[in-house]
């Protein structure tokens, strides 16, 4: 079932409200607990210029430009409201441009997470922001938050995240390609978690008893896995993603080590989970926290190289590139940096770069085996 059919089904058959959610971090459990369905708008890629496209300069990131075009051309009119997390300057600008000047007449919700969220004042503020979001959703749609339902939502999200973690940790046992794995995980961008879990469970249950791929394991980091053709190119060149640090995928899964869900209930549990998210340049203040996290991810997954895949003009991500490269290279981990827009296909230059990178990884592997 495609997104449109799914949205219509939620609205017509279940009388649920559907919200168009812009990237990237937000307390999804709140929406689940209120039985509101967030459908994420990551661009979308490969979009033909719509009504709003000319309203944003070409040097602004394509995710924001495409979202503007998509919403401006009426293609998001099916949803019952829009939701803007506070990701970056461009998203912040979009959160005023669309509701204030694009004749968007449905409810708009915003969530401004604190930067450096572990400080005491930031925790109080985060609590207030989450409470404000709850009240806004309740008021706009005549809903009421139920603590038992929130507890259940937390349990469901934890279950889905555990399954995604399992799929990555046993990647070589999953029979499908990277595109298939990512497509499965990314269905969570529009499915209710209750509908996503059975798909994830099915995939987990179908995993082989022994590794079925002889690919070179790599880690990937960046903003969003678009274009998906990049994953095809990696697989075709002989690599496989075993560890993920995309803002839209891996960085939205709380780390289990900090995930003391059982210690707290209600909004406190939501806050704890939020604080347990892996470091992300859009919100983490400590410049020293991200590199150790990524290095441990590489070690634990057995990745032999790192692909840094960024969306052009993405400031939060681009500022971190030099220190990431330096850290990986000083550990002897080969790095490939790729910058793409939300095009549908990869350029031949990008494909060549991927192939050359895999040649290096293969040589390294052979060298290590010989040694």
């Amino acid at each position: 079932m495609g997104r449109i059919e799914y949205i219509q089904k939620q609205q017509k058959e279940h009388s649920r409200k559907v919200i168009g959610a812009l990237p990237v971090h937000y307390p999804k459990e709140i929406f689940t607990a209120l039985d509101v369905v967030p459908v994420e708008i990551w661009g979308p890629p490969g979009l033909k210029a719509g009504e709003g496209a000319g309203l944003i300069q070409t040097y602004i990131c394509p995710i924001v430009r495409n979202a503007m075009s998509f919403i401006g051309s009426g293609r998001a009119d099916i949803v019952d409201g829009l939701f803007f997390p506070h990701t970056c300057d461009s998203m912040q600008g979009l959160a005023t441009l669309i509701p204030d000047w694009l004749n968007w007449r449905k409810p708009v919700f915003r969530f401004q997470h604190p930067r450096g969220s572990h400080r005491p004042e930031a925790l109080n503020y985060l609590r207030d922001e989450i409470s404000l979001l709850v009240r806004s959703l309740e008021k706009a749609f005549g809903l009421s938050m139920n603590m038992a339902r929130l507890h259940e939502a937390l349990r469901l999200h934890k279950e889905a995240e555990g399954l995604i973690r399992l799929l990555f940790s046993r990647r070589l046992y999953f029979k499908g390609s990277d595109r298939e794995l990512y497509s499965l995980i990314r269905q969570g961008e529009f499915l209710r978690v209750e509908d996503h879990i059975p798909l994830l469970k099915k995939a987990a249950s179908e995993m082989a008893d022994r590794p079925v791929h002889k690919a070179i394991p790599v880690m990937i980091t960046g903003y969003v896995p678009e274009p998906m053709a990049l994953l095809d190119a990696l697989n075709a060149a002989g690599a496989m993603v075993v560890a993920d640090d995309y803002a839209g995928i891996g960085r939205r899964i709380p780390r289990p080590i900090d995930n003391r869900l059982d210690d707290a209930g209600g909004i406190d549990a939501v806050i704890r989970r939020y604080l347990s998210l892996p470091p992300c340049p859009t919100k983490t203040m400590n410049p020293q926290s991200r590199i150790p996290y990524l290095l441990s991810l590489i070690r634990e997954s057995g990745a032999r190289g790192v692909v840094i895949h960024e969306v052009k003009f993405c400031e939060p991500e681009l500022f971190e590139i030099p220190s990431l490269r330096k850290a990986f290279e000083s550990e002897g981990i080969p790095v490939l940096f790729l910058e793409t827009e939300l095009e549908t296909e990869l350029s031949s230059r990008t494909i060549t770069m991927i192939e050359a990178f895999l040649e290096v990884l293969k040589k390294n592997t052979k060298g290590e085996a010989a040694a």
Partner: protein, 436 residues
């Protein structure tokens, strides 16, 4: 102790003497003929401005190890640092200086050679290039003991200062100001207030000095007065002809950015205000023949200040107001000496760039009306995404609301590579011709 004596000596004795000598030498130089005779006579206070800013950078060379040094964003609450005797460096102000002196290029390239994307903010790249040891017109910047970034001007400063913290290995205090969609909510103000108090604690620890509330109140009052004086200076442009141009303002705002919260700053603006009032009385304008009055939106193109100014002036266009310079005077009333923390929280969150597009339209419309502008140039600044996003709609809306002609000028505030001479010329010509 020796470093402190050296610093104070440079600040009070050697620096002023050196600058006097420099002034003497400049005066002896043969004056070049004015390239743009259409511009008005230069402001007399320019000489004092030059000396103040030069002295600030000159003493800065001796500041590390002598006094605590902070690097701060232009929208950071400097009033908190003043009582602790910090020497405050403003990387944005320094980058503007590099841009205006045509010295930013190698610094940008140095940052890029270290892997920073050319798509990142030019100020940030220029600053990182300086931190990596690039050549600066300031000689050298003192190494910071503390970094203070306030997101009221952009989120970029958060990412940029995180890189500085990584490089210098010093504490970074972030004042995270939630973006205002409409008016601020109580929990947002409380959040900012708490962060300001944290800044005072950290700054006090770094400076190894106890915090003194009386001094904070004094600095707040000085900051308030400075911003009000700056606003009064800007408002002299209600007169026709306007006594100074926005290009002059871009230069003279260096003091409100770099020395805000000091008596030195306020004394300077009192002198400037007197001079501007005198020019109004005598009918002296910022350009020789003011036929049209223009408003500028966004940061200036630092490396083209004079030529842009001259080009416009040659056709009687006086660019005499800007949303950028206005930003340093618009929130002064919110500061409050009886509740300095709350007052600062309000003032620093109400910054133009931290507010939604309807507010931007309201401010631009007010400025167009206040200064009777008949045109607006919106600088679509590749380096400054938060200022630029929304300008395409803003251009249309301000034209509708005020009947002003508008144009979008594609450039960059510091990176000369984004300047396409022919395209800018054609657009400017077409814009100016539309007034006939």
């Amino acid at each position: 102790m020796i470093r402190r004596i050296r610093y104070e000596s440079m600040r009070l004795v050697e620096g002023p003497l050196l600058l006097k000598l420099q002034s003497f030498l400049i005066k002896r130089q043969k004056k070049k003929p004015e390239k743009y005779p259409e511009l008005g006579p230069p402001l007399k206070t320019e000489e004092r401005l030059r000396k103040m800013i030069s002295l600030h950078y000159l003493t800065g060379r001796y500041a590390d190890g002598a006094v605590p040094v902070a690097w701060a964003t232009s929208g950071a609450p400097v009033e908190i640092l003043r009582p602790l005797n910090y020497h405050v460096v403003y990387p944005e102000n320094h980058a503007a200086l590099c841009g205006a002196r045509h010295m930013a290029g190698p610094l940008l390239e140095l940052a890029e050679s270290r892997g920073y994307s050319p798509d990142l903010c030019g100020y940030a790249r220029c600053d990182l290039g300086t931190a990596f040891g690039g050549r600066t017109p300031a000689g050298r910047l003192p190494r910071p003991d503390l970094l203070v970034a306030c997101t009221n001007i952009c989120q970029t400063v958060f990412f940029w200062y995180r890189e500085l913290a990584r490089h210098f290995q010093v504490p970074l205090v972030l004042i995270d100001t939630p973006f205002l969609y409409g008016e601020p909510l109580p929990h947002q103000i409380s959040y900012i207030e708490a962060q300001l108090r944290t800044l005072a604690d950290v700054a006090s620890d770094v400076a190894r000095r106890p915090y003194d509330l009386e001094s904070l109140i004094r600095a707040t009052l000085l900051g308030m007065e400075g911003s009000l004086l700056w606003r009064q200076c800007l408002e002299t442009n209600k007169a026709k002809p306007a006594p100074w141009s926005a290009f002059d303002q871009f230069v003279h705002m260096a003091v409100i950015v770099a020395l805000r919260g000091t008596e030195e700053c306020n004394s300077y603006y009192r002198e400037l205000l007197d001079e501007l009032k005198d020019r109004v009385k005598r009918g002296i304008g910022g350009i020789a023949n003011e036929r049209h009055r223009l408003l500028w939106d966004n940061l200036p193109v630092w490396f083209k200040l004079r030529s842009l100014s001259g080009r416009l002036a040659s056709k009687g266009f006086h660019l005499m107001a800007s949303t950028y310079t206005n930003a340093w005077g618009e929130t002064a009333d919110l500061l409050n000496e009886t509740d300095p923390w709350r007052g600062m929280a309000k003032a620093y969150s109400h910054i133009y760039l931290n507010r939604d597009l309807p507010n931007k339209l309201r401010v631009m419309s007010q400025l167009v009306k206040l200064y009777e502008c008949d045109g607006v140039i919106l600088h679509s600044d590749r380096s400054c995404k938060p200022y630029s996003l929304g300008q395409i709609s803003l251009s249309e809306k301000v034209a509708q609301a005020c009947g002003a002609r508008t144009m979008l000028l594609e450039a960059d505030h510091i990176d000369t590579r984004a300047w396409v001479e022919g395209a800018v010329d054609t657009r400017l010509q077409a814009f100016m011709e539309s007034f006939k």
